[in-house]
Every structure is written in structure tokens, then in C-alpha cells.
Symmetry: C2
Subunit: 216 residues, 2 copies
Amino acid sequence: MTSLAQVLGNLDPSDSLPLYQQLQRGLREAIEKRILGPDDALPSERQLAEDLGVSRITVRKAIDGLAAEGLLVSRQGSGNFVCTRIDKNFAKLTSFSEDMRARGRIPRSAWLKRSEGTVTPEESLKLALSPGTLVYRFHRLRFADDEPMSIELATIVASCLPSLDAVQDSLYDALEHAGNRPVRALQRLHSMLLSAEQAKLLSGDTYDFVAELSAF
Amino acid sequence: MTSLAQVLGNLDPSDSLPLYQQLQRGLREAIEKRILGPDDALPSERQLAEDLGVSRITVRKAIDGLAAEGLLVSRQGSGNFVCTRIDKNFAKLTSFSEDMRARGRIPRSAWLKRSEGTVTPEESLKLALSPGTLVYRFHRLRFADDEPMSIELATIVASCLPSLDAVQDSLYDALEHAGNRPVRALQRLHSMLLSAEQAKLLSGDTYDFVAELSAF
DNA sequence: CAGTGGTCTAGACCACTGC
DNA sequence: CAGTGGTCTAGACCACTGC
């Protein structure tokens, strides 16, 4: 009997909610309440099944669901582990690379364009920078396990990085390496209509795109 | 023996790829090749299992995976059906509402702000509109099954809609109702940093937000 | 080599659909 | 009420991990 099983309480077969969903909810709450902390291993599936009086398949279905939610990762031969993951309220700043790694996926990016210049009036307003500030702009296509996820534009004050080429895979890594780990950021997300070229990039049909895209 | 089973060919238990993944791939290809068309019902799970010489659980695992991919929807007591879904190349224009419905999810939107005005110089360039053209702007928070999915800004030439209030849930529905079903569009998608307010909206922690958001 | 997750089977009962 | 998907069991063998 693990202490976790005590926390989970008894599953009720007569409940209208299926057993695996009861278990999934219980484990989710245990993770959210930090009873199970990041990187903690769950009891083995066989152990959980025995403790809770259900079959292993029922346990697996709950765990599969949590893995799909990004709360757990399964490692064959090793165990099921709680993901280190972003806080729902974005309290902790994480990069795309970190986020994907925390979800057990391999981040990768392809460069579309990188350039340097001075802030536009719009950027100057949004980022609270003096006009004339030198910035680097990074246009990237982001992948997780080779699946195209998003097109990203990052605008960074040039003085935060040693050079335009300092960014390889992770922008955050490069900033941290330069001693500028971001501690505060204004995060903005837009959902917009795609240009034909952008659609093509995200569709995954072409990876041999040209590096130059106009009017991003 | 269904004709579909013939198309799928034999599953090979000695293959390193698990049976359910072999079947999932076979069904995916059948859907992509339109051997299984939109809204077509699959043979029943028991029938597929018998035809292919595997257990029903193996069939279900393949079908669950395809449902997670958005290629199928399951209807209890009825069957598994091929989704009408967007073409990978965005050849067919679909709205958020249509897309979500096709995936068996319920689209909903909450208004953040709606306004009218004349095109900005930037919009004028991007949308190829004459300066001074009257447009409606729609800022919405989009939900699927009450889960916040995205923040959307739509800019529509005012002459395409009878009024600013003509749009209820679906912009495309409103446009179609006005006789302006879009046949061609420039679609753009941006992944950007979120403002604190936007992050809050998407985190699902607050639904009683104010309708006014500045500097979107 | 003991223990783990990954896959698979044969069978069962349930709620639901649609005639 | 026959057929369907949804859930669940008990058991099995595999590949892999980590000591």
C-alpha cells in the first residue's frame, strides 16, 4: 500500500464515471497538489492495479490519458514519471525548447530568416524600447519530434546577445549563456490567417523552403 | 470480408511495428486516399477484428489513435465515422467553428471586443485594400468544448457584412449568410509572446474577464 | 536478472442507437 | 431488440532498464 494509494482513496465501480477516469482525475489532482512532484516516479502499474483493486489495463488507460495531457511521461523498463511542466498561469517562463523537452518531445527549429535592425515604431511601443534601439529578429519554424508546430518571430534587444549567430536551437539557452536569463517577459500570442507560404511550411509538405520570406 | 479489409492487407505480427500501429497506418492511408470518404462508417470493431485476425482491443487502440488525430469520431451505439476535415494543404477554406465541429468538438466563442474603423496602413498592405476602406474588427476568445483554444482577431471589409452585430458564433456562417462565402483567403498565423491578460484568458482561470483589452 | 512499461488475447457486461 | 461502441478483467509474452 503506497501512500499515494491512500491519497487517491477508493475507486467506486458503481460511479457513473468510469474507473480509469476516476483514477486519472485522482492522479491529476495528486500532481497538481504536488503530492507527486516533478520527476517523481509513480508506483508501478501492477502495484497501482493491486493497491486499487483494478486491472492493469484500467491503470494504463488512466496513465495514457495523463501522458496525452502532458502530465506524465512513460519510460519503458523504467517507470512513469511526473513531467516538469509549465505552470498553468505561466508563472514560470519557459521556452519552446524547454516546454517540448518537458513533454518528452524533441524540439528542433529551422531558420527561416535572421536579421538585425532598429526597432520599428510598433515594436518600440510594445516592448517599451527607445527608438533607434538595435534588435535582432529571429524567424523560425519550430518542430516537436519533426512535426512542425509553429512559426515564430522573436525580437531581441541586440545588447542581450553577443551576435546574431549566437542562437542555435534555443533562444533562452543563448540568452542564458550570455548571462541574460529572462526573469520577466511580456508574452503575446496571436492566432491569425496564414499566408500561402506559411501554410505550406506548417503542412509539413515541404522542408526545402527558401530562407527568405517576405512580409512576415 | 469487407473490401476495406482487402485494402488494408494483412497485418504482420512479426513486424517490429505493433499490430495496432500497422492498422492505424492502414486506416489512415485509406482515409487519405479517400477509400474511406468523409462521414463513411467503418466496419464495426468486432467485424474488423475478425477480418484481420486480431483482438478487438487491438482494433480499438488503432481507432482511438485515429480519433486522437482527428481523423475519426466514435459514436456509441452507432459506429466509427470518418471526419470531414480540412485538407492538409488548406485547399479547402474552413472556419474555426467548422474545423472544431468536424473534430467532434463544440465550438464556442466569447467576445473580447468588436469595433469598426478604417484600415490601418499595415492592413491596407497586407489585405490589399484601398486606404480608407471601412472594416470591422472582431476580437474573440475561441473555445472547443469549453476549453480555451486561441485568441482571434479577424478584420473583415465592412461591405461584406450587413452590420457589426451580424456575427454571432461563426464568422464564416455570417459571411455566407450575407452571400459572401469566402472562396479565397490569405491565411496568416503568428506565434507570439502573450500579454498577461491574454495568458490569463487562455489559462482558463477566469471567464469573467472584462470585454475591453487594450493594445491587442 | 528482477522489475518495468508495451503489446496482445478472449471474453464479459454495460449504455446507447436505430430500426 | 440486435448491433454498436465503452469499459473492464485476468492473464500472457515481449523489449527494455538498471542494478
